[in-house]
Amino acid sequence: MRRFWSWAALIIGGLYFFLPLIGTLEFSLRMRRGEYSLDAYRSVLNDPRFQETLSYSVIMALATIVVGVLIVVPTAYWVRLRLPRMRPYIEFITLLPLVIPAIVVVFGYIRLFNTSSVLPMTGTAMGTNILLMFGYVVLALPYMYRAVDTGLSTIDVRSLTEAAQSLGSGWVTILGRLILPNVFGAVMSGAFLSFAIVIGEFTMASLLNRPAFGPYMQILGANRAYEPAALAVIAFAITWACMGVMSLISRLARVGRMGK
């Protein structure tokens, strides 16, 4: 009896999750009347705006990952090594983006960094790009910090640091050649999650008026019928690929550690 209800819960849940995916796929193939075709995909992929906005978002995602790693890894390392008492407070700050809605944060940016402020970042396109990038770092912060902190907990930070120091290494060498390689798996899983978040992000990019992939999808969705479904399939494939690579890396990292 218990098994019957379990299967029932699983199958009903499965239907709810797979019908929209099948529905989207089917809809994206329906553009040509009376037969299935890849016309919607062709139309999307040939749209120069698609290529521009997607590459803009990819570049933003890569910048977000680099800056995020540069901020998060040294901080998490330093807190573990020298300021363990600060850990709960730092962790609290990193979790704030889950409490404060993104729309409120970006509203604050618009007020704080507008053209008549002390730091007029929104005055130029480059300044706005940098501002948006920092906004993305904020959105990714909870995931990035937790991944890196968990990674650090698996190594003996103190002994490694002391060994490196007694061999004459400076801080840059310690962080770049000792700590980073040791938490590489954790950093990568944080990186792929950040990538997935940034690629589809809509609110911040739209309110800061940047030509990102999220706002492009929204505009296309408001004006076309079949292309949005094709876009959704593409976006889902990107998310799925990111998550797949992420779990693969964490599994490899675990196997690698066990092998040692």
Binding site: R3, W5, S6, W7, A9, L10, F17, L19, P20, L21, I22, G23, T24, E26, F27, I71, P74, T75, W78, R82, L83, I90, I93, L96, P97, L98, V99, I100, P101, A102, I103, V104, V105, F107, G108, Y109, I110, R111, L112, F134, G135, V137, V138, L141, A196, G200, F202, T203, L207, G214, Q218, G221, P228, A229, L231, A232, F236, T239, M243, S247
Partner: protein
């Protein structure tokens, strides 16, 4: 020694500067703005502005959608997680379910709206199939994707997986001995759940509910791509306000943003308090 501590603090400067500049100060600016009048003095007028029927209605609708999607997300997610952990299902199912939950809980936003339009929209797959196979026209029966229930149904796509991800460790924490002890004392399966498992899980369940609530309360992209501005929930009203499309008073925007922080802040506070309580049983 003091000098040492001073130097230690320097290591946190980059992070604190970043957090201050791009997280704390922008938020503070909005919160303070909610209590400031046009000439810079202190005022409660902005908050009073929230009491207009249009904004009150949007808060009410937002809270209803968030509550409905959080309750249903908790119940359904719990059922699936319980089936997976304690339901006698094959072990190999766990890996795929948790991987899929990880993906689906991040599949919010614009593409999710498209997926539901393609499925349950007026010419969506399920709508059409129901009409062709069973002669059921859900739109004639009053269903509309661009409505309260449509939005709730769509939000469940990321709420249920989030629930599964968070509640699975708690379900794993239920010790086998408890169930055995209950069975030895003659309890039925239902009695075990009602009198042992659910009371132990209660803080986790309520805490996760609060988290799911906050999660959907702040969501903009899905709702915006799904309904445009036909459904006035708070984030969409605020979005339009920042864009300058409606409501010409910027201070009302501050007040609405402040209201959002209060709601999500309270929900998260509940989550944190209950989580620490739940951890008592997790050892």
């Amino acid at each position: 020694m003091n000098r040492r501590i001073g130097l230690n603090w320097l290591g946190l400067v980059p992070f604190l500067a970043f957090a201050l500049l791009f997280l704390v100060l922008p938020t503070m600016n909005i919160v303070l703005g909610a209590f400031r009048s046009a000439d810079g003095g202190f005022t409660l007028d902005n908050l009073r502005g929230l009491l207009t029927p249009r904004i009150m209605d949007s808060f009410k609708l937002s809270i209803q959608v968030s509550a409905a999607s959080a309750i249903l997300g908790c119940v359904i997610g719990f059922a699936i997680a319980a089936a997976m952990v304690h339901g006698g299902l094959p072990k190999w199912l766990r890996g795929p379910i948790s991987t899929f939950s990880g993906v689906a809980s991040n599949f919010a936003g614009v593409p999710l709206a498209f997926a539901f339009i393609a499925t349950l929209g007026r010419v969506g797959l399920v709508t059409v199939l129901l009409k062709q196979w069973f002669g059921i026209n859900i739109y004639a029966m009053g269903f509309n994707l661009l409505s309260f229930w449509g939005l709730t149904l769509t939000y469940l796509f990321f709420q249920i997986p989030l629930m599964i991800l968070i509640i699975t460790p708690a379900l794993d924490g239920l010790k086998k001995e408890w169930r055995e002890a209950a069975e030895v004392l003659g309890a039925s399966g239902w009695q075990y759940w009602r009198m042992v498992a659910l009371p132990v899980l209660f803080p986790s369940l309520l805490g996760t509910f609060a988290l799911l609530f906050a999660n959907s309360f702040g969501a903009v992209a899905t709702a915006y791509a799904l309904t445009g501005s036909t459904l006035s929930i708070v984030p969409i009203m605020l979005f339009a306000q920042i864009r300058g499309d409606v409501l010409q008073d910027p201070h009302l925007g501050y007040a609405m943003a402040f209201g959002m922080i209060v709601v999500t802040g309270l929900a998260n506070l509940v989550y944190i308090v209950l989580r620490t309580r739940a951890e008592r049983w997790m050892r």
